[in-house]
Amino acid sequence: MTLIASESAQPLWRRHAKSQLSSAVARTASVLTMLAVWQLAVVFGHRVPSMADTFARLGSEGAGGQLWTNLAVSMNRFLLGLVAALLVGAALGVAMGLSRIADYALTDLTMAGLAIPAVIWALLTTMWFGFGWLTPVTTVFLCGLPFVIVNIAKAVRAIPAETMLMARAFGVGRAEVLRNIIAPAVAGSTIAAVRFAIMSAWNGLLLAEWFGATSGVGWRARYWYDANQLDGFLAWVLLFIAFLIIVNQALGLLENRATRWRRS
């Protein structure tokens, strides 16, 4: 009964609960709608595999051991390329944000990098490096890099000049400035950068493995595609999409946390 006693608090939590509930209903409805659209596509589009076949294939891939090995191989390549892109991209982005010369020098190249589609990188690396780990890793690196550079440079530029001038006036060292001013300011944007880089790099990884690998998620999807078994292809595609949604939600939460200091 204490809840009713605090009259002023009640509408607030109730409204909150209500909006939570309605958004949960909306989400469930949207998942159901997407499944319904899939079912419609099965009925009307010939050769679109049905849900039952797809999930059965996913199960048999899991039972045969193909699922985890290929996923692990792909993740390994993905992380290697992504970490390299983050390290190089952060260095270049900070340089572009701080120095006008670096900015002028690199703007055109990053623009070009953003414009090049992943499929071109995948085909070029396949021609250059053949079938091996270098092809997917390089493609992931090249697909992710421009997004990291652009986002980090934007964040560094947004740091108020007064803060930097004050640090200089008080003789704060370079390492200190990097750690205590630049790092917290770009944390939120770094997560945004990672988010975009992951979207782009994951797509690149699939293509690189599709064209130039003999293992991994992209290769396995191609295996089923070449065998003209689209349920296998779709099963792997669902895994890619699930991965993207999970990463996106997780990074969204992380972004909220990293920018919390700004709102207080």
């Binding site: 309605s22 703007t107 595609y225």
Partner: protein, 271 residues
């Protein structure tokens, strides 16, 4: 040590100088970087000395060949025509979706997941299903570019609908304006700027996925030419098409940005 003597002269002028001086510096630096990249490329090509890394001059010669033979014009027109048709579809579908998303919290959470999925599904999925469902004709790329562009347009339209001043709507109600008038004079001007922003961002995505679809199955277009270069193992052709691709894309993006500034100069907050 000539740089040391030049630096103090440049510093004071920079603060008082016109943006024009600034622009020259900018231009010089970016040309210098591009030149050094070209030199690095030439050195790598000379060291490797194989068809797999063509020399810059060979690639430029290919670019000129492709442009002079009219191949570039015809393939870019077919690709851009498919994207244009796709975008027309996307605007038609994205406007009502964005309107719904902007007006209600329920519709917003209902539609945001499908929009995320549509916008972020790996291009490979679109390419394969377009080929399976629509065959190698032009319909596949059109539908693909429409589906990639819809979320960008819908999300921006929703943003535009949210940006409409509530006081303005209440005033319309008080003066008993018809819904048609409200739509025409309040929502349309607010939303149209956001639609253009959505088109600009959506274009960058749609164009890549469209090219990928053409790589998988098409009889013409830029993606088809890239596929041909890959199958004939012609790295110089591939690099030449990549270069043209980048140039055309940047030109179109600049054009759209310019259009946006011209048409919506009256809206300061978008700038």
């Amino acid at each position: 040590m000539s740089t040391n003597t030049v630096a103090p002269q440049v510093r004071p002028t920079r603060q008082t100088s016109t943006p024009r001086n600034q622009r020259t510096v900018r231009w010089l630096i970016s040309v210098a970087t591009l030149a050094s990249v070209l030199v690095a490329w030439a050195v790598v090509a000379a060291v490797i000395d194989d068809n797999i890394v063509p020399r810059p001059l060979e690639v430029f010669a290919r670019v000129i060949d492709i442009v002079a033979s009219g191949e570039a014009a015809s393939n870019f027109t077919t690709t851009l025509a498919k994207i244009g048709a796709g975008f027309a579809l996307a605007v038609v579908a994205g406007l009502p979706l964005g309107f719904l998303m902007g007006r209600g919290a329920f519709m917003n959470s209902y539609l945001s997941l499908p929009m995320f999925v549509l916008g972020n599904v790996p291009g490979l999925t679109y390419a394969v299903f377009a080929l399976v469902i629509f065959g190698v004709g032009p319909l596949g790329p059109v539908v693909v570019s429409a589906s990639v562009a819809v979320p960008f347009i819908a999300i921006n339209v929703a943003e535009g609908v949210r940006s409409v001043d509530g006081d303005l709507l209440r005033m319309c109600e008080a003066f008993e304006r018809s819904p048609r008038d409200v739509l025409r004079h309040v929502y349309l001007p607010a939303v149209s700027a956001f639609v253009l922003v959505g088109v600009r961002y959506g274009f960058a995505m749609a164009w890549k996925v469209e090219a990928l679809t053409e790589v998988f199955g098409a009889q013409s277009g830029v993606g088809f030419m890239i596929r041909k270069a890959y199958q004939e193992f012609q790295v110089d052709d591939m690099l030449a098409w990549t270069m043209l691709f980048v140039i055309v894309m940047i030109l179109i993006e600049r054009g759209l940005g310019h259009l946006e500034r011209r048409l919506f100069a009256w809206r300061k907050e978008l700038a």
